[in-house]
């Protein structure tokens, strides 16, 4: 073959490689939903297992479909037709534009096109369902299934993509700057995914109230999860999936950046685990595996906003602090009688905030200006999420109710909503 002929294949070859990495990342983000599922059922009681699995499985389906219907075009509207920088919509359904060329669809300087329209949609779609899953964990064991799905459809279909568009869709937040700072920085979604899920979880937990027996006569009771091995499987799979969550957020397979992102991600997770375990060893004189699990997730959520900005030591520090935060936050939310069976508030909300702020404290962008930008970004998205959650949940509460009946809660949602048991062969000593 001629040299020029061969050479003309290079951009296509580049696209193939980068797109391949993005497809691997899609799968990894997909498998996080299994991680969330087993984590959540592991940390809750056996009598609600089918219910939680149902929610987690269907949320992927619902998430993908709503994202196809409108989410994707709300999040990446191209131009903000409705409100400049705040709201745009590119129409219902998915499909590339008429002049679509994968070689230029998402071209990076010096690299060329890095993925196709389809990869873009699927990667973003897999992210979308995550936010609802966070809520699912926090309100587990007492939230009505129908109310949850109505909420999820609206939240994943509208709120998540609109807030996301402010930054990743090229909206106002992405160019918002103070002084020297070069705009809000949220690499893979500490704010846009984790706190967006976290704020909704906070509102939902507040509105639905604690589980029966959790706070009795001013005492905090532990309601143990029923299957620690499943929880452990969950956390390993989430870490595994985070390789794609963060690694894919590079949006190309650029070797130096992606590999460094994987290193910072892993170091933060490792440091988070150690720190949470050591802090809880000191406080509770016990090697608390449940806190180790939360520590890993804390480190992962914490590094997510700045995984591309940090050095190895930065990421270790972010992990250490995240691990300590999560231990404190679990106790803090318990003190406030916000009952969160799986620690979703502590992990996703508290450490999502920490991770966002950490970009202003550690790493390449650290500085007072950046810190303020991060803070304002958090405040703006937080306020929006809280208000939207209220706007969605209050009418549902009035019309359908958020909470299952007392007898249903005591006997388990599985038997009442699904007429099915998770473990029919096993003798269960339900609590």
């Amino acid at each position: 073959m001629q040299t020029t002929e061969l050479t003309s294949q290079i951009p296509q070859l580049g696209l193939t490689v980068h797109n391949l990495w993005m497809m691997v990342s899609i799968m990894l983000v997909f498998i996080m939903h299994l991680g969330f599922s087993t984590l959540e059922i592991g940390l809750t009681r056996s009598k609600n297992t089918v219910n939680i699995l149902f929610k987690n499985m269907m949320i992927v389906a619902v998430g993908l479909v709503t994202y196809a219907i409108c989410g994707f075009n709300l999040m990446y509207p191209g131009d903000f037709g409705c409100i400049e920088g705040v709201l745009g919509f590119a129409g219902f359904g998915v499909g590339p534009a008429a002049d679509y060329d994968p070689l230029t669809y998402h071209a990076v300087d010096g690299i060329g096109g890095t993925y196709t329209y389809w990869t873009d949609f699927l990667f973003q779609g897999m992210f979308a369902a995550t936010a609802a899953t966070i809520v699912s964990g926090a309100v587990a064991e007492r939230f009505r299934l129908d109310s949850f799905f109505i909420f999820s459809i609206l939240y994943v279909g509208l709120v998540y993509p609109i807030v996301g568009s402010w930054q990743w869709g090229g909206g106002w937040l992405s160019s918002f700057s103070i002084g020297e700072s070069a705009g809000f920085h949220d690499f893979a979604g500490s704010t846009l995914v984790h706190t967006v899920g976290g704020w909704a979880a906070l509102v939902a937990v507040y509105l639905v109230g604690p589980r029966i027996g959790k706070y009795v006569d001013g005492k905090i009771n532990a309601i143990q999860g029923h299957n620690i091995p499943l929880a452990a499987i969950g956390v390993f799979l989430l870490w595994f999936g985070w390789f794609g969550f963060n690694g894919g957020s590079v949006l190309s397979a650029d070797p130096e950046t992606t590999s460094k992102v994987l290193v910072t991600t892993c170091m933060a997770a490792a440091a988070g685990a150690l720190s949470a375990v050591i802090v809880s060893l000191v406080l509770f004189k016990s090697y608390d595996l449940s806190m180790g699990i939360n520590g890993i997730l804390a480190g992962l959520v914490g590094i997510t906003a700045g995984a591309d900005q940090m050095g190895v030591m930065d990421s270790i520090w972010i992990g250490i602090i995240a691990g300590a935060i999560v231990v404190g936050a679990v106790a803090f939310f318990d003190r406030l009688k916000l009952d969160d069976p799986v620690g979703a508030l502590a992990v996703h909300l508290a450490c999502g905030i920490w991770g966002t702020l950490a970009v202003g404290i550690f790493g390449a962008k650290a500085g007072m200006d950046q810190f303020l930008v991060q803070l304002i970004g958090l405040a703006a998205t937080g306020a929006t999420c809280i208000i939207s959650s209220l706007v969605i949940l209050l009418p549902i509460k009035a019309l359908l109710g958020l909470r299952v009946s007392e007898i249903e809660e005591i006997e388990g949602l599985d038997m009442h909503e699904h007429q099915m048991e998770a473990y029919p062969d096993f003798r269960i000593d339900s609590h």
Binding site: I407, M415, Q419, M420
Partner: protein, 115 residues
């Protein structure tokens, strides 16, 4: 000495526990059993709906001195009742002897508080 056995709904267990505490029954043993009775439960599994009359219940058993028996029975009757079919049963029988393993005590003293 009497042995009281109660077969109750799992969902009433915490109430029964509290009620027994009030009549000074601090010791008992329980385990989960399957009850076959009047009540049935609806199930759905892979498109087959069916009803099962095997229902999980909790079996509470304790031995107490005679004077404690009647209050304990009344306590359980009150706390375990929902009024729906399937509330369960209480059975009373005679026990000849009792021992506390820790101390080797025998007879009614072995059923009294002793730390």
């Amino acid at each position: 000495m009497k042995k009281i056995e109660a077969i109750i709904r799992k969902s009433r267990f915490e109430e029964v526990r509290k009620a027994l505490y009030k009549v000074e029954i601090h010791f008992f043993t329980y385990w989960d059993v399957t009850g076959q009775g009047n009540e049935t439960e609806a199930h759905v599994y892979r498109g087959v709906s069916y009803t099962a009359s095997d229902i999980q219940r909790r079996h509470i058993s304790f031995v107490c001195n005679n004077e404690y028996a009647e209050p304990a029975i009344q306590a359980i009757l009150a706390a375990a009742r929902t009024g729906e079919v399937g509330d369960g049963k209480i059975f009373v029988s005679e026990v000849l002897e009792s021992y506390r393993i820790r101390t080797g005590e025998q007879g009614s003293v072995s059923l009294k508080e002793n730390r």
